[in-house]
Structure formats: C-alpha cells, structure tokens
Symmetry: D3
C-alpha cells in the first residue's frame, strides 16, 4: 500500500458543549496543524498516489473554508460538537468529496482511502480514517 | 476509525541483557517520549474518542509509576528485558487496565484499540498495538 | 552563558485590529506552543540555571491565566493588539515578575535574561527577549 | 503487533517525467528523511523486533547506495519515475532483501512487514508498506 | 528585542567544489527547510515586527527564484560554492533587499536584523545573521 | 555571523544531588538529543564554517565518551552535578578542545564560538554558549 501526506494548518475559535470539557466549554481557539494522507494500492501511470500539488491545493481550500472563523457560528457545523476528532472527520469528508469530484485529477478517483490528523498542540492530536 | 493521541515522557535507567545489545548491556538510561493512541470506531455522545484530559492523566500516572527509577530494580519488571518495544507493551497494558477499570470514563470501556509508541531518540522509536 | 528552556501551550480565541491582518480581523483562535528560556551567566550552587520544575510550574500558571479564553474580553489586555509578538512579551513580562518575586527560587532572582517564543503554527513563530 | 523504526536520510538530484510535475520536470533535488519501520507479531528471545543497530546499519547502507547521486543516471532506476512514493518502495524492497538475506540477524527473517516513509519536506511525505 | 519567523522550503540540485566535500562533490540535491527571522527592537503601530503574510510571501518568492533548479547552472550563483551556509546568506541578502525596497511594508524598513536558517536534514542546518 | 549545527544523541544513567531535584535524586536516566552549533564571522576558502562531516564526527566521538554509561561512576565527572546545563558545558568544552587541536580541520581553529544544546525531552532543554 502506498500513501502520500500533505500538511497545512488552520486557526479557529470555538467552544465545546459538555461538562467533560471543563474550561474548554468557554470560547477559546486552536491552531490545527492538519495532515491529510491519501492511500492507494498501486501507483498510477505517472508513478504517483495523487498529484501532490493538487492534494496540497485541495487541503488549502478546505482550510480556507474553516479557518479564521468562530466555528460556533458556522451554519454547516450547527449540531456538531467541534472536537478535534469530529473536525478530523469534517476535513476528511470534504477532501473525499473533492477527490471524488475529480478536483485532484482523474487518478484520485481510484484512491483507496484517506486519513486526516489534526494536531491541536505538541502533546495532543486526533485522526479520522475512511475508505474512498 | 477515529483516534486520539496524547504525549508525555519518562526518564529511566536500565541495562539490557544479551550480546546483541553491545554497550547497552551497561547501565545507562533513556528519556522515552511516549505517545498513547486510543482508537474507536465511532464517537461517543460528547463527540469524542476519550476525554483527552483523563487520557493525559492516565498516561501521566503510568509515567510516574515507571519514571525516575532504575528499571533493573523494579520487582514488577523482573524477568522483562526492558527494550523499547517491551516497554511499549508494558505502558499499553497498564493504560488498557486503567481504561477497562473505568478510570478514563464509561465511554473508554468501548474503545476498540490502543497503540503506544516510545521514542528513545530523534532517530529510533518502537510501538505496540493491541485491541481493548 | 547558560540557558534552560521549558515548553507548554495555551489555546485562545482573539481577533486582530488593523487592515494589515486581513481575515485575522475576524474572531478566530490559536494554539500557542510556548518556549520560555531562562538565561544566566553562571550556574548556582546546585549546578542549575533555574529549578526546571518550578520554571515549568510558573509557565503553566501563566498559560492558565491566559488559556481557554477569548483574549478580546480580557480586561488586562484591553488596548493590546494580541499579535503573536505582543503576546510573547506579555508571557515574558509575567514570567519575569514571578522570577523576581522569588516564586522560581532565590537563585532565579539572579537570572540575566528571559526569552519567550510563541509558535502559532508549524510555519510561523515570534519571540520577545528581555533582561531580568 | 510490535514495531521498531529507525531514521536516516539521503540527498539526491533527479527530475520527474510527466506534465503533472510542473517545475519538478527540471533537474532539482531533495533531502529525503527516511523512516524504516519493521513489524513483528511477537518479540524474539532477546525481547526485540529487530536489532536496532543492525536495522540502522542496513538503512544506512541503502542510503549510501542511493545518496549523493543524480538518480536520473542510475542504471538500476532506469524506467522508474523517481517520485517520493516510488522511492519509498525502492528503499523498502532493498531493506526487505537485506532482512531476508539474514543481514539483520536470524530473527529478522520472521518479520511480518516493513513500512518506509520518505519525508521530502516539512509539509509532504510518502510511504510504502509491504509484508515480508 | 522582538522577532518573527516564517518557514518555507526549496528543493534544488547542486554539487560542491573542494576535496573536503567528499561524495558531495558529485551532483546531488537537497530539500532546504528555510526559517527566516525578522528582528526589531520595538513593535510598529499595528503591534507587529513585520506583516507575517508579506514576510511569508517574500520568502516564497525567494524560494521560487532558487527552487526546482540545478544551482550549478544559475548564472547569479556562478563563483559561489553553494554550501548550506553560503545559501543561507544568499537567501538572507535577497530578503533584506526586498525588505529595504518596501515590499514587506513601510515598517519593514525599520527592521534591525535578519537571520536565515537552512535545514538540510534532521541532523544538520546552517544560519546567517545580518543587520538590516 | 554564520553558524553550522549538527545533531546527535547519547543515552546515560545518572542521579542528581540536592533537594531541589526531588525524584531526580534517585538513579534514573536520559536520552540527550544534542545540537552542537559552530559560529564564525566569515566563511573559509571552501565556503564553510566547518567541515560538517568532521563536526559530526567530533560530536559522535564526544557522545561515545559519555554515552551508555552511568555518569555517577565517571571519574572525570566526579564533583559535577550532571544537570542538563552542566552537561551542555562538558560537551561544549570537549568539542572546543577538539576544534583547537585541529581535529575539525585547520579552519576550525578560527571559529568564533560554540553553543551546545541538550534536549532532555520534548518539553525541556538546556544550552551552554562559549567563545573559542
């Protein structure tokens, strides 16, 4: 199995709902350093999993949709408790949509899977992995 | 599949038994930077894999049980060659026990798996992965 | 010259004032991974620059004063544009106060200087350096 | 499942064939920071996955075979578009050969799998994973 | 003293002249992860050392001038042995020119100094520091 | 001012003397990831601060003198409380001796200074800087 990973980041405000979150129930924020991993059983005719430039571009586009915002006010995230693990899924699902739409090149429609990791600090991170 | 990882560290002395270890048969030591990854197929009602605060607390407790010691003198490790990979299992098994005991919250009893990585330097690390 | 550095982090919401900041004028947030460096010409009688445990404790206390908050609402920061470089100074000045008060041990009153670096992402950080 | 990873690096020149590569079709180069992960279901009699010294030695040997060269001129790579993912496979296959030959010790013949990751920068990397 | 640092990278081919370089006399290559640090005694009216967006843009522009090339063929580098330390100076001097030209904003003309670090691997890097 | 840094590591056992060290008074250990920085006002005729291969070799030699040992038993360190900052000085002084002896090449005798940083974990490190 082959994979390619690109890294970008976004800076957001949000608050979390639930006693388990303690002080993180207050409005605060995070830089998420985001790693998006694209998996494929075999390489395409160019010898790649996915065009790394397009993969980086798609990730940057998703970062721009979410970044520099207060996620508590985003209509598309209403009803989502924006924990690091839940946001990893949001990013992965948006990247999957872009891959399936052909935005990452025709070959990207043959990707086998996708994993997204959000680093919230130097001591904590969360991931979501899905097939494509 | 979702996962959450927390990082901590411990500083220990030990020696290794076996000609394969060369100079590491002498009493020396290590800082292990330890990553504990908790895996779960779906998120709980709060939208998390595990309470990150409790997960970090459990890891810190395991680090305190082992850290600032000469592992050659620990009765619980008698008979264990304390290689990085063997210690990764010790840490993982102790975290699994804590998770199953309810110490990480009721939801943590539904975790699917656990992986522990011990970084012994910037150029070498070892992991142990197990179901829960 | 000797130095000792300890690392911690804080997660905050804020917005920046000024056209130069573009989308960062909107309410957003950041994880700041914070490195606090303590400098001293010579070591004390224990062979240290500063007690690393106390230094880490003082940094954690400053992180707790600022973290998990919307900095736009903090009375003590009213009038401060909370850029990464300005926050580096806030953290450094608060650590200097704690050092001078004796909270880091008597020896810490003899520190020669202090530098604080705030990493806002994997590709950008800012520092403030001052004498003590 | 246990694993052990060792890290090394190589510095090479090359060019890539295919319009998808844009400016990377020109002769340029890369430092690849290479992580080689060895996997094994259970530990051997010494309590290890593989002798970490021998594993590091084998990786260094493969780095020496490829490094400080223009890969466009390497007869063994003729016909290979030397993308990061394709090179990850080259390194993994060469390590597998060395493991199977006994060069990493008798126990290394019982390894279950191998993964090689090539980091081409701080924001992009690629991996290849195979059984042994 | 305040500073702001931005990180980017470039991938180049080159060879080095001189017996001291051993195998690096052959055509090979490198990824340089480049940190550009801008220093200033006091913050400007916006509370910044330099507009981080413009600083990142200027660094990206310099990376584009040098990256994806064989430096042995660059007329502007003829006569320069393109060691990591020499390239750190090239990047710093080009950034200084851009700062002095006003490209980083009017305030950037008041910068006190500049430091550029080129990481050639995870185990080696070089820097050049100059006043502005 | 130019500088070149090389990184290596050593793994040692030791204990610290003094109530301030708490549990670190017990025999324990550490991996020190060590960065040695060589500084020079101008480059030599080859365009370098120091031969990076020789610098790395000298650092490796110092690591071998100290590593895989219990520092409490080292005659040369008797009377030294082997704190991270004190060990940074030991390493720097030994590298300075090697540089002055000509072991790093003739040019290395013209180095202006030396800084050594010992990382004891991902959250703490110490440095010692000296002229040459």
């Amino acid at each position: 199995m082959f994979s390619v990973t690109v890294r970008d980041h976004m800076m957001i405000a949000h608050s979390l709902r639930g006693a388990v979150f303690g002080p993180a129930q207050q409005l605060h924020g995070a830089t998420y350093v985001v790693d998006a991993t694209f998996r494929r059983e075999s390489l395409d005719a160019d010898g790649i999993v996915v065009d790394i430039g397009r993969a980086a571009g798609a990730l940057r586009a998703v970062m721009a949709e979410l970044g520099h915002r207060n996620l508590d006010d985003e209509p598309e995230l209403a009803g989502t408790n924006t924990t690091t693990e839940a946001l990893a899924r949001v990013v992965a699902d948006r990247l999957a949509e872009r891959a399936l739409s052909g935005e990452l090149g025709d070959g990207a429609r043959e990707l086998d899977g996708l994993e997204v990791t959000l680093h919230e600090s130097h001591v904590a991170w969360a991931s979501y992995e899905r097939p494509l």
